[in-house]
């Protein structure tokens, strides 16, 4: 249903091209196709296919053989493992930019996704040379929504006020016919009077067009008596008795008053004052933000792509892969596991880093951009090309499965309500929930990893992944 209505509005918008001009005033969006042209932060060289009987294609390959493409050095970014944030932090600005632009790795620890804190801070302090960030756009939209809600709340109260008046008036008239009905309603009104009396002042001042009370299906006094009342009352305020309480009821202006304009207050913190100054202002701020890589992300960059080296805060020497692996196994839960409990020779296959990484590896290898799904109560979100291009289509829920384990019950402690609430949350944002079952190998299957060179590959190969896409089916709506 929601889909069709969205489509309907979209076609309506395209059908009226005359409303285009105001859109041109919008600042142009950056060309994300150019910025994010590379899906991964690695340099690839394309060579045409080799066809043995075609000398031209052979020539190209010979050329590549003798004159390999110039690459002065292999770019390796440096990330620092931080036990405080239990993740890998990247601080070098070029590395941060590269990792974000080429594959959307990591997240700015003080931003929603792309590290934009420095720009936001500069703009907040009045720098005019920095472009608007996505957080600010969102903020503005939220402010507008808040104003809208405020306006709506005010209108609702006004309507209530009108109803009350109408009732009071008809009571004054003493129409015996609908007297009973009015009394019943006035009880409701008295209950909310405290709220209204506080608002009296604002209601009288406002130029809000009056909304006919018929809309609400409530008794209305005859229009003739209404007009009479207004002309009679000089002060525009009448004292009316409802029950035992006396409250001032204001008479609204006639319905011909001009429609009020929605007040859209857009605050840009200090920017409004600085805009008046024509001189360009430059501010310097110490960047407090870093690009934070999830453990799975960092491990993929180290182990699969080989373009990240992880160090600790103590030394600049990059850690060897087994050390990184061990560190990540330890810091996958809070509080972190003690060093003695994690050993590579007797690996715990049920470690949450291993299970999370297997799923991350699976989807990243298939070309998805995988991000954390904590805001949608799932484990991961899958983006087709990246967060700047489209919303995440799939929400990944990891469910470890212990079918190969002896005497271990499957998925204990998860109830139907849990799954139902997750699907409801995600269908609200038009995401499909995918249950990813990870068949966890037994401890015997992953034993003795430390001895072999490609042991990790073997260990990861022991995990099996099964996907089940879940969708709520509504019999009345989805008939086809």
């Amino acid at each position: 249903m929601a889909d069709t209505s969205a489509n309907g509005s979209a076609t309506a918008a395209t059908a009226t091209p005359s409303t285009k001009p105001p859109h041109s005033a919008k600042p142009k969006r950056p060309n994300y196709n150019v910025i994010h042209a590379d899906p991964l932060p690695v340099v690839l060289y394309h060579s045409p296919p080799l066809i043995p009987h075609n000398p031209l294609s052979l020539l190209h390959h010979l050329y590549l053989y003798f004159f390999p493409p110039v690459q002065s050095h292999k770019v390796v970014y440096i990330g620092v493992f931080s036990p405080v944030t239990m993740s890998v932090e990247v601080r070098d600005p070029t590395a941060v930019l590269d990792l974000w632009n080429k594959g959307f790795w990591g997240k700015g620890n003080l931003s929603r996704s792309e590290p934009t804190w420095l720009n936001r801070e500069l703009r907040r302090l009045g720098d005019t040379q920095v472009g608007e960030t996505s957080e600010e756009i969102t903020r503005r939209r939220r402010d507008q929504r808040k104003e809208m809600k405020k306006e709506r709340a005010r209108k609702e109260k006004e309507e209530l006020q009108k109803i009350k008046e109408a009732e009071a008036k008809s009571k004054e008239d003493g129409s015996a016919a609908n007297g009973k009905l009015i009394i019943a309603d006035s009880k409701v009104v008295v209950g909310i009077e405290a709220e209204i009396s506080g608002l009296d002042e604002t209601v009288t001042e406002s130029t809000q067009p009056s909304i006919p009370t018929e809309e609400l299906g409530l008794p209305t006094p005859p229009p003739s008596s209404d007009e009479l009342n207004i002309s009679d009352a000089e002060s525009k305020t009448a004292m009316v008795n409802i029950g035992s309480e006396t409250l001032p009821v204001s008479v609204p202006p006639t319905s011909k008053s001009p429609p009020v304009q929605l007040a859209k207050v857009v605050r840009f913190d200090n920017n409004t004052s600085t805009k008046e100054i024509p001189v360009q202002k430059k501010v310097t701020v110490q960047n407090q933000e870093h690009l934070q890589l999830m453990l799975s992300e960092a491990f993929f960059l180290v182990y699969v792509l080989g373009i990240l080296s992880v160090t600790t805060a103590d030394s600049t020497n990059p850690l060897p892969l087994p050390e990184i692996f061990k560190l990540f196994l330890r810091y996958s839960t809070f509080p972190p596991l003690p060093e003695s409990s994690v050993s590579l020779t007797s690996l715990n296959p049920d470690n949450s880093f291993l299970i999370n990484y297997v799923v991350y590896h699976h989807f990243r290898s298939l070309g998805w951009v995988v991000k954390s799904g904590v805001k949608f109560s799932v484990d991961y979100l899958l983006y087709k090309r990246g967060p700047v291009f489209s919303h995440a289509e799939f929400a990944i829920l990891i469910i470890p499965s212990y079918s190969r384990w002896e005497g271990r019950e499957e998925n204990v402690g998860k109830e139907w309500y849990w799954l139902h609430s997750i699907t409801r949350v995600n269908s609200q944002v038009k995401k499909t929930v995918v249950l990813v079952y990870v068949d966890v190998p037994t401890a015997d299957e992953v034993k003795g990893w430390g001895c072999e060179a490609d042991g990790l590959k073997k260990v990861l190969g022991k995990y099996k992944i099964r996907e089940v896409a879940l969708r709520r089916w509504i019999p009345g709506r989805n008939r086809e």
Partner: protein, 148 residues
């Protein structure tokens, strides 16, 4: 599962602290270890975990948004309520006892109002591995829902 060490909890708190300070522009931030040292309080016992208190730029819980904003728009806004933030990690399991002990050892709001304004309230800051901090407001009992 082992119990969280103090050092780990302090690490967790520092993550939330930097998030509140730099991303959400909270002010008047104080770090609370075991004691809530504001005024001469009557604290039942020590806080079970290190917490943070501070003032958000805008009121967090406000069941009557329309009436209050009308007053504030004209002149200077009054300072927002002091909030108590409890940092937790996404992967940790907390017992009901911990929650109860947090609420028990917090002072009752000094506003002195009746009903919902007087209920104890904490902000739970859930830290996750990708640096997202998800905040939840938790009341000590049932309160009037915020109007949407």
């Amino acid at each position: 599962m082992t119990t969280a060490e103090t050092a780990d909890l302090l690490n967790l708190r520092s993550v939330v602290l930097s998030n509140l300070q730099h991303q959400h522009y909270w002010t008047d931030i104080k770090l609370l270890d075991t004691r809530v040292d504001i005024d001469e309080d009557t604290q039942n016992g020590p806080l079970p975990r290190p917490m943070i208190c501070g003032r958000p730029p805008e009121q967090l819980y406000n069941p009557e948004p329309a009436s209050s904003t009308n007053e504030s728009s004209s002149s200077e806004r009054p300072p927002t309520d002091r909030e108590y933030v409890l940092p937790v990690h996404l992967t940790e399991k907390l017992s009901l006892r911990t929650w109860a002990s947090v609420f028990d050892n917090l002072p009752t709001p000094s506003g002195g109002g009746e009903g919902d304004a007087n209920k104890k309230r904490i902000v739970v800051a859930v830290v996750s591995g990708d640096s997202t901090v998800v905040y939840y407001i938790m009341h000590d009992g049932i309160v009037k829902p915020r109007q949407n």
